[in-house]
């Protein structure tokens, strides 16, 4: 069925249309939530809250294509994730002294596959992971991130560079083949 029609029917309260939209978007949104939150339970909770808000506020959304719809739902999910992190008070900026000695090799990270990136990102501490997600994946600027998280712009920058260093460190500690693959 046409997505525009689905959105229209869901806006009118059709349960079947709402279910279709949920089935269509839930997997992708679950991945988004899991990038921000460590546990599946938290991610599911956020997913439910996010979809609830999405369906409740669908009347205020003007459909301009599938991409716009996806972006809107994703934005809702990210906001819900950040809200949960704030509520649980787990948003702590971690500083790791060991990683300062490690040289940053951006290209090594660029050669990673999607699954490898996902696994590595999930393992990062909350502060690093959030800044990394917002800057690298969502494409936000440091100024925006700082305003959104209530931190200084410099902190956002340092968190990002530390996150990248930690990713490299984790790759090497695993003795992984990704870096080796790059050097070949």
């Amino acid at each position: 069925m046409d997505i525009a029609q689905l959105v229209k029917e869901a806006r009118q309260g059709s349960a079947s249309a709402q279910k279709c939209l949920f089935d269509m978007l839930s997997d992708k949104m679950m991945l988004v939530c899991r990038r921000y939150l460590k546990s599946n339970e938290d991610a599911e909770e956020v997913l439910l809250d996010g979809f609830y808000k999405f369906f409740k506020n669908l009347s205020s959304f003007s459909f301009q294509g599938e991409g716009a719809l996806y972006s809107w739902v994703k934005k809702i999910m990210i906001n819900e994730c950040l809200m949960l992190l704030r509520k649980k008070n787990v948003f702590i900026i971690v500083t790791e002294s060991a990683i300062d000695d490690f040289p940053l090799e951006e290209e090594a990270l660029n050669n990673l596959s999607a699954k490898e990136i996902f696994d590595l990102v999930v393992q990062l501490p909350v502060g690093y992971r959030t800044v990394f997600n917002l800057y690298v994946i969502e494409g936000m600027e440091h100024k925006e991130i700082a305003a959104l998280l209530g931190i200084a712009e410099g902190t956002s920058k340092s968190q990002l560079s530390k996150a990248k260093l930690l990713l490299q460190k984790n790759l090497l500690q695993k003795g992984n083949s990704y870096v080796k693959r790059r050097s070949k």
Partner: protein
């Protein structure tokens, strides 16, 4: 605004297209949908505004009822005043009615309390105070003029009834000539007179108000108390 880091673009694209991860894909999608559907079907909770409105309505009702009750009381008080005035007009000859101070009655409506009536000694019939000249007088022991017949709060509807009672209690004034010849006072008469005297005193509350204060002159320290222990 989006940052323009080219490396980020490749990372983003990789993760955007990454939606077939078996670990992460929802295991209980249908269960989640059921939960969501139930939540969506539920009626929205009543907002706080509803509670505030309800409280405001309740408060308004209470204030309105209090105001109406006050107004009703005022009306009743003014009606009572009118009744008293009418009664005075209806019974102009009754001296006791004239003894009622009208000022107190009029003030009743303004103070919202039941009026208190006093009998004025000056308004007593002259025949009681002045002896008849050149006539043998049956000398009755002069009694103190009653200051108060009663002082109590009464409902407005009882005003007329009270006035009638006051009128009944008035002593009958008899001229000396009507009494006929002097009769010697017997013991029985004395007893009756004493009894009457006591009744008057009791009515005038003399027996209660004019009771002698305890003093040391009697030789008995009746109400003497000891507060400080003596060692």
């Amino acid at each position: 605004m989006l940052n323009e880091d080219p490396n980020n673009f490749s990372w983003k694209n990789k993760l955007e297209n990454f939606d077939q991860l078996s670990e992460v894909i929802l295991p209980g999608k249908n269960e989640l949908w059921e939960k969501l559907h139930i939540r969506l079907e539920q009626k929205p909770r009543r907002s706080r505004i509803m509670w505030y409105l309800a409280a405001a309505c309740l408060l308004a009702v209470i204030i309105l009822s209090l105001t109406l009750t006050d107004k009703r009381n005022e009306d009743l008080a003014s009606k009572g005043t009118k009744r008293a005035v009418t009664a005075e007009k209806l019974l102009p000859t009754a001296p006791a009615l004239k003894q009622i101070i009208p000022g107190n009655i009029t003030s009743a409506s303004s103070k919202k309390t039941t009026p208190v009536y006093h009998l004025q000694p000056s308004t007593y019939p002259a025949a009681l105070n002045e002896p008849v000249k050149d006539q043998p007088v049956l000398k009755i022991e002069a009694m103190p003029a009653p200051q108060k017949i009663f002082e109590t709060t009464l409902p407005d509807s009882a005003v007329i009834a009270t006035q009638v009672i006051v009128a009944k209690k008035k002593l009958k004034v008899v001229h000396i000539n009507e009494l006929g010849e002097l009769i010697e006072e017997t013991d029985k008469m004395k007893l009756v007179a004493d009894h009457r005297n006591f009744q008057f005193k009791f009515i005038n509350q003399e027996t209660l108000n004019n009771s002698p204060l305890p003093s040391n002159n009697t030789g008995f320290n009746i109400f003497k108390t000891k507060n400080i222990p003596s060692n």
